[in-house]
Amino acid sequence: MNWLLDNLELIGELTVQHLRLSAIPIVLGFVLAIPLGWVAYRYKLTRGLILTFVGLLYTIPSLAMFVILPPIIGTPYISEANVVIALTIYAVAIMARSVADALASVDGDVKQAATAMGYGGFRRFWTVDFPLAGPVVLAGLRVVAVSTISLLTIGSAIGVSTLGYLFTNGNQRGIVVSVLTGVIVTVIIALVVDRLLVLLGRLLMPWTRAMAQPGAQRRALASASGRSRAAEVAT
């Protein structure tokens, strides 16, 4: 307990650092995955290629990714850039599939109706397809956010300062409270960010609540769960 009180400042600093480092892959993954997911959804050939490729990237264990990335992209081995880029790759890998699945989930009749009303391809995508794909995209984004926050702790294994420092340091010095605190703070951050994303989704997509289809919503979430592989089965 004393350890906790003595190290509140350290825990605070690490938490801020952790949030800062995890925000980049989450945002970048989301932004990069929209065009990638669209291409995967739109053309049959690219669908297979892109989804297989991101699937393979996702298979790489994170510690191995941290080690193999530097010689490929030229970042220093112990650097925030190395960890952030690795996590961005995972985020894009999950989100590209989510976006492709989400776009495929939009009712074809609605798309035809929009086209019939004179919507061009670009306007239809941003004002009809993408908003309607929103709930499934959000489900994917929540998976990305939570797993990024959790995976970031492994960055400490190669010496990048995150909440994982509480694990490595606690382990070396035999302080169980340190490790336990690290686990709890990481989980809390992940769950809070997850809740915030749900609230943001309600704010941006007010119609989803009105539609009140709990079954369909839950299924969408379930299929985006795990490492979004449940959705892969569906292809």
């Binding site: 049959k44 393979l56 996702y58 298979t59 264990p61 510690l63 191995a64 080690v67 193999i68 010689p71 081995y77 699945d101 989930s105 009712d107 074809g108 709930p135 499934v136 998976v143 939570v146 797993s147 959790s150 995976l151 702790t153 492994i154 400490s156 294994a157 190669i158 909440l163 994982g164 509480l166 694990f167 490595t168 606690g170 382990n171 035999g174 169980v176 490790v179 336990l180 690290g182 686990v183 990481t186 989980v187 769950l191 989803t208 539609m211 289809q213 369909a216 299924r219 969408a220 379930a222 299929s223 769960s225 795990g226 490492r227 592989r229 449940a230 959705a231 892969e232 089965v233 569906a234």
Partner: protein, 252 residues
């Protein structure tokens, strides 16, 4: 590229592969940890998931648990259990953590597999006079297998990645040469081990992908829609058990 040649040289060094040499031992340990954890997790999660899928009982709790489990940092959990379990029980503690991390995806695969089945198929089975036991054993389990294998595939990925971290608490598995490499600043060894880990993960994933494909009953495979983008929005009946139909239900 120089670094990669060094790593390949480390990988090709015969002394590393000699009988009782470190690399075969690390690979063997890695597979052993993975296999034991997967067996333990499956023994718990598959029957539980099937029970939840068949009865619908405890479903909300299962969804909450599988969702929240993703937030658990495997790295910290491993240190925590190993510290609490004591030095003598490091292997056991590690296996418990690995199994704990594998349970949620397997559980989700097991119950989602049952839920993805078209209710009409189950009603038909019941109206033909099948008992609940028969429905579970001869309808729900076979039709739920593809998603279950999908869940097992997620789990094995998670376990293989976490066994890498076991290298931090014990001289075992392919994570150890990385941990040792960090300490003695031997990048060829770290990179070589990373390559081995990636190859191992890809191989295991490919094996599970094949199992997943062949687990689909032939009748279901025949009724599967190829391109869901252009498929009708109406639900299919006979092929309703294919995951393609779950996808359609997702179109909120």
């Amino acid at each position: 590229m120089n670094l990669f040649t060094d790593a390949i040289a480390w990988l090709a060094d015969p002394t590393n592969w000699a009988d009782g040499g470190p690399i075969p031992q690390w690979i063997a340990d890695h597979l052993w940890f993975t296999a034991i954890a997967m067996l333990l997790a499956s023994a718990i999660a598959i029957p539980l998931g099937w029970y939840i899928g068949h009865t619908g009982r405890g479903r909300d709790a299962a969804v909450a648990v599988t969702g929240a489990a993703r937030a658990l940092p495997s790295f910290g959990l491993l240190f925590l259990f190993v510290m609490l379990g004591g030095v003598a029980n490091r292997d056991l503690s590690a296996i418990v953590v690995l199994a704990l991390l594998a349970i949620p995806p397997i559980l989700a695969g097991a119950y989602a597999g049952f839920e993805a089945i078209d209710r009409r198929v189950i009603d038909a089975a019941r109206s033909m006079g099948m008992t609940e036991k028969q429905i579970v054993a001869r309808v729900e389990i076979p039709l739920g297998l593809p998603l279950l294998w999908g869940g097992l595939r997620n789990a094995v990925l998670q376990v293989v990645a976490t066994v890498v971290l076991v290298g931090f608490v014990r001289n075992a598995g392919l994570g150890f040469p990385i941990v040792q490499g960090i300490q003695i600043r031997s990048y060829d060894q770290m990179l070589g081990a990373a390559i081995l880990i990636i190859v191992l993960a890809l191989l295991l994933d490919a094996i599970f992908a094949l199992l997943e494909r062949y687990a689909t009953p032939a009748g279901v495979r025949a009724g599967r829609t190829r391109d869901h983008r252009t498929s009708s929005t109406r639900r299919r009946s006979a092929g309703g058990a294919t995951p393609a139909s779950t996808k359609k239900e997702m179109s909120v």
